[in-house]
C-alpha cells in the first residue's frame, strides 16, 4: 500500500510540473492571462467539471469508471428548470428533488456494477443515454430560462465577503474532503484496496461491493450538484448541459496520475489535471486560437497520459 501511494504521489507531482510549465508559459506569452478577473472566471468555468472529476477519481480508484456523468449533469439541470419554471416550485425543494434523481442514477450504476457484476462501461453507457435522453424528453429539447436572480447570483457572488465565488468554494471543499477521505480514513483505504485487488480486499474484510456502490453514488450526487451550479452560471436549463464531461473528467483524472486500473489515486493530481485543462483552454483562447486546436491537444494529452500509465506499469511489474 505504502509503495503504491508513494508512486501515485510522484506521478501527481508530474502533473503539477505540466501545470506549472503551462501556467508560466501563458503568463509570459499571453497578456491578460494572469489577470485576476480572468483567473476568477476560469475558476468559475471549471468548478463544475472539478466536482465531477473529483468524484470520478474515487470511482476509478475503486476499479470502476462512469461515463454517465455528463447525462446526469444535463438531467439535473433540466429537472430543476422544469420544476421551477414550468411548475412554479421553490428553488430549494426543486434542487433537492433534482439531486435525489441524480442520486438514483448513481444507485442504479452502483447496484448494476457492484451487486450484479455488470461491466461499468456498458452500464454507464446505457445510463448516459437514458439520462441525456430524459433531459431532452422533459421539454422536447427546448431550453428554459427565467430563474430568480437570487439563484443565478450564486454563480458570481462571493462566499461570506471573500470574493471567492460559491461554486469555486464548493468545489474546493469537495477536493479537500476527498483528499482527506482517500488518505486518512478507513473508507479511503477500502476504496484503494478494492481497486487494487477486489479478492485481497474481500479477504481482509473489506466489503468491496458496498464500497464500489458508494463511489458511484457519491459521483452522481456530485454530478447533480455540478448540474445545479452550471444551470445557475448560464441561467438556463438546457438538455445538452455537461456534454463531454465524461471525456474531460476522465482525462483530468488520468492526467493527474490516477491509474485507470484502480488502486492508485491522487486527488491533488486530479486537481492539477482539471487546472491543466482550464489553463490550456483559456490560454489558447486568449491567443485567439480556435476551440478545434484545444480539443485535439487534449486528445493527444489523454493518449500520452494513458501511454505513460501503461509503460509505468510495465516497467514496475
Amino acid at each position: 500500500m505504502r509503495r503504491l501511494s508513494d508512486r501515485s504521489r510522484l506521478h501527481s507531482a508530474g502533473s503539477l510540473v505540466i501545470l506549472a510549465a503551462l501556467t508560466v508559459y501563458f503568463s509570459i506569452a499571453q497578456e491578460g492571462f494572469l489577470d485576476a478577473g480572468n483567473l476568477l472566471s476560469l475558476a468559475r468555468q471549471y468548478a463544475e467539471l472539478g466536482l465531477v472529476a473529483v468524484g470520478m477519481t474515487l470511482v476509478i480508484a475503486a476499479g470502476g469508471i462512469d461515463i454517465s456523468v455528463g447525462g446526469t449533469v444535463g438531467l439535473t439541470g433540466m429537472l430543476l428548470g422544469v420544476l421551477v419554471l414550468q411548475h412554479g416550485w421553490e428553488m430549494l425543494p426543486a434542487a433537492a428533488v433534482a439531486l435525489a434523481v441524480a442520486g438514483c442514477v448513481g444507485a442504479v450504476n452502483g447496484a448494476a456494477v457492484a451487486y450484479l457484476g455488470m461491466q461499468p462501461v456498458l452500464v454507464t453507457l446505457a445510463t448516459m443515454s437514458l439520462t441525456r435522453g430524459a433531459a431532452y424528453v422533459l421539454t422536447g429539447g427546448v431550453s428554459l430560462s427565467g430563474f430568480p436572480e437570487r439563484f443565478t447570483d450564486i454563480a458570481t457572488a462571493g462566499v461570506a465577503g471573500t470574493g471567492i465565488p460559491m461554486p469555486v468554494a464548493i468545489t474546493g471543499l469537495a477536493f479537500a474532503g476527498s483528499a482527506v477521505l482517500l488518505r486518512r480514513t478507513a473508507f479511503g483505504r477500502a476504496v484503494l484496496a478494492s481497486g487494487a485487488s477486489a479478492e485481497a480486499a474481500e479477504l481482509s474484510g473489506i466489503r468491496v461491493r458496498r464500497v464500489r456502490f458508494a463511489t458511484y453514488l457519491l459521483l452522481s450526487l456530485l454530478a447533480g450538484v455540478a448540474g445545479i451550479l452550471l444551470t445557475a452560471r448560464v441561467s438556463t436549463s438546457f438538455a445538452d448541459a455537461g456534454r463531454n464531461y465524461e471525456f474531460e473528467a476522465i482525462t483530468a483524472v488520468v492526467l493527474g496520475g490516477t491509474s485507470l486500473t484502480g488502486g492508485e489515486a491522487s486527488v491533488l493530481g486530479t486537481l492539477a489535471g482539471v487546472c491543466t485543462m482550464a489553463v490550456l483552454r483559456n490560454g489558447l483562447s486568449l491567443a485567439g486560437q480556435s476551440d478545434l486546436t484545444r480539443t485535439q491537444m487534449l486528445a493527444v494529452a489523454l493518449l500520452a497520459a494513458v501511454l505513460i500509465d501503461n509503460l509505468r506499469r510495465r516497467l514496475t511489474s
Binding site: L10, H11, G14, V17, I18, A21, L22, Y25, F26, A29, Q30, E31, G32, D35, G37, N38, S41, Q45, S143, S145, G146, T152, L230, R233, V234, S235, T236, F238, D240, A241, G242, R243, N244, L280, R281, N282, G283, L284, S285, L286, A287, G288, Q289, S290, D291, L292, T293, R294, T295, M297, V300, A301, A304, A305, L307, I308, L311, R312, L315
Partner: protein
C-alpha cells in the same frame, strides 16, 4: 524513466501551445491601436462558418481592424460558447459580436461584457435586445420573398401563371418567404398564382416530383417561385425531364453551388440569397463605425455589400441577386 516521459509530455504540450499562442501574439503586437473585434459564432468547421470567416478576414484586411472569428468545436455547445465569450472579456477586446446557440443563456455573460466596457452586438442570430447594441441579419424573411417575386415577374414580362414551392409547411421563415412572394406578385395583375402551394420538405427528389405533376396539371404554367434551397435545382431537373427547360422561368433561394450549371444553361433564371461573408464584413464595418460613435443609418452604403436597411436596432444587409452574369464569382 517515468520522469523522462513526463518531461517529454510537458515539453510537447508547451511546444504545441507556444506554436499556437505565438500566431495570435504576433497579431496582437502589430495591432495595438486598431479596434479589436471578436465574432463568436455557434460552431466552427461547417461551410457556412467558413464563409462567415472570409468576411472577417476581409474586414481585418480592408478596414484596419483586428478581427477574429471564434466558436466552439462542436455544434450547439452552449457552455462552450459562454466560456469563449468570458475569455473575450478577460482579453479586454473592444467589441464582441455573437451569434448565440441559445439566445437567453448568453444574457448574463453579455451583460457582464457591457459592464466591463466592451461593446456587444449580435449578427446572424439574435440575443435578447437589452444586452446588445444592434443586430445585423442576413435577410428579412418577408423581403426575400418579395425580391424573388419581383425578379420572376420582370422575367415574365408581367403576365403568366406561377406556382410557388416551399420546403416544409410549418417552418416559420419559409411561411414568411411565401407571404413575401404573394405580396410581391400582387403588384402584377397579369400574373395568377396556381394553388395549392407546393412543398418539397427540403428534399430535391420531392421537388422534382411536385414540379412534374404541377406541369402536367397546368401545361400553361410559365413560372416557379421557390423559397427553400432544394426548390430551384429540383424544378430545373423537372423542366429538363419534361422538355420545358428555358420556356418556364424559375427564381429561387439557393446556394450558387446548388444551381451553378442550371443558371449557366438558362434553366434557372436566378436566385436571391445573402452572402455570409458579406454579412460578417458589413457587421464588422458597422461595429467599427459604432465604436467611433456613429450609429448605422437606414440606406447607408457598405462598400462591396450594398445599402443596408435599419429597423429599430435591427440592421438588414441586402440580398445578392444571383444570375448567370455573376454566378462564377460566387464561390459558396
Amino acid at each position: 524513466m517515468r520522469r523522462l516521459f513526463l518531461l517529454l509530455l510537458t515539453a510537447a504540450i508547451v511546444a504545441a501551445a507556444s506554436g499556437c499562442a505565438r500566431k495570435g501574439g504576433q497579431e496582437g503586437a502589430a495591432g495595438a491601436d486598431r479596434p479589436h473585434v471578436v465574432f463568436v459564432f455557434k460552431v466552427l468547421g461547417i461551410p457556412y462558418a467558413d464563409s462567415l470567416k472570409q468576411g472577417a478576414d476581409r474586414a481585418a484586411k480592408e478596414l484596419g481592424m483586428k478581427v477574429e472569428l471564434l466558436g466552439p468545436a462542436t455544434g450547439n455547445d452552449i457552455q462552450g460558447q459562454i466560456n469563449l465569450i468570458e475569455d473575450q472579456i478577460a482579453r479586454k477586446v473592444d467589441a464582441i459580436v455573437v451569434s448565440p446557440n441559445d439566445a437567453d443563456s448568453v444574457r448574463p455573460v453579455l451583460k457582464r461584457a457591457e459592464q466591463a466596457g466592451i461593446a456587444v452586438y449580435t449578427w446572424d442570430s439574435d440575443a435578447p435586445e437589452d444586452v446588445r447594441r444592434f443586430y445585423v441579419a442576413g435577410c428579412d424573411d418577408v423581403q426575400i420573398g418579395v425580391d424573388i417575386a419581383e425578379r420572376l415577374a420582370r422575367d415574365l414580362g408581367g403576365t403568366g401563371k406561377v406556382a410557388i414551392m416551399t420546403g416544409g409547411l410549418t417552418a416559420k421563415n419559409l411561411m414568411l418567404h411565401v407571404d413575401g412572394v404573394r405580396e410581391g406578385l400582387k403588384k402584377y395583375p397579369g400574373i395568377t398564382i396556381v394553388e395549392p402551394l407546393l412543398a418539397n420538405n427540403d428534399q430535391k427528389d420531392q421537388a422534382i416530383k411536385g414540379a412534374i405533376s404541377m406541369l402536367q396539371k397546368h401545361p400553361d404554367l410559365t413560372g416557379f417561385a421557390c423559397v427553400s434551397s432544394p426548390g430551384a435545382p429540383g424544378v430545373a431537373e423537372a423542366l429538363i425531364q419534361t422538355g420545358k427547360a428555358g420556356k418556364v422561368k424559375v427564381w429561387g433561394l439557393s446556394l450558387p453551388s446548388e444551381i451553378r450549371e442550371h443558371v449557366k444553361n438558362g434553366v434557372v433564371n436566378g436566385a436571391i440569397l445573402w452572402n455570409p461573408a458579406d454579412l460578417t464584413f458589413a457587421t464588422a464595418y458597422l461595429v467599427k463605425q459604432d465604436l467611433e460613435g456613429k450609429k448605422p443609418r437606414d440606406g447607408q452604403e457598405i462598400p462591396g455589400v450594398g445599402k443596408i436597411t435599419v429597423k429599430g436596432s435591427q440592421v438588414l444587409i441586402p440580398g445578392i441577386v444571383i444570375t448567370k452574369d455573376n454566378i462564377d464569382e460566387l464561390d459558396f
